[in-house]
Symmetry: C2
Subunit: 102 residues, 2 copies
């Protein structure tokens, strides 16, 4: 299994708005080959820290999605003002992992 983690920092006052946006996401990713699941995690010590965690069968499935039109569409749907609030804090960081034990 392969995991992608996008670490966002958002103005704490807009954290609820970001979470709401995730809840009404287009779910375009869900039908992609190799997609396992996606969760959004918010730190309970620092509400400014929000992680978007998606799991894939393998690295190839993930990279195929990242190059897809659906990925571009998903990003395009994010509200412009919200996008600015995220970017002002810190650039989005993407980290990837192999699941090596469970």
């Amino acid at each position: 299994m392969y995991v992608s983690v996008s670490r966002l920092r958002v103005d704490p006052e807009r954290s609820a708005e970001l979470v709401a946006a995730f809840r009404r996401r287009a779910s375009l990713v869900d039908s992609h080959a190799g997609f396992v699941d996606l969760q959004v995690w918010r730190s309970d010590r620092d509400p400014a820290e929000v992680l978007m965690v998606s799991r894939w069968l393998d690295r190839d499935s993930f990279t195929a999605y990242m190059k897809s039109a659906d990925h571009r569409v998903s990003h395009g749907r994010i509200d412009r003002e919200l996008k600015k609030a995220i970017k002002l804090e810190r650039l989005e960081q993407l980290q990837t992992y192999e699941v090596v034990a469970e």
Copy 2:
């Protein structure tokens, strides 16, 4: 759902050993009330970075486990030399999250 992430840094030469140790873990946690699952993630860009990710029904289940004898026993089982290799790099960091969307 509630997530606990322990971020370890280990000498890359000992990364495989750490993963092997996780694979033969005692699994004492698995029977605790509220335990969902546990995975070990290794960065594919930096094998020194290993995350231990455990998911729980809620925060209370997690804190009850952290105070339990089973948690102490699990930590006690870690090989002394391996423990040193982890600690030399950086102190273990524990971060916790609420799952806010999926």
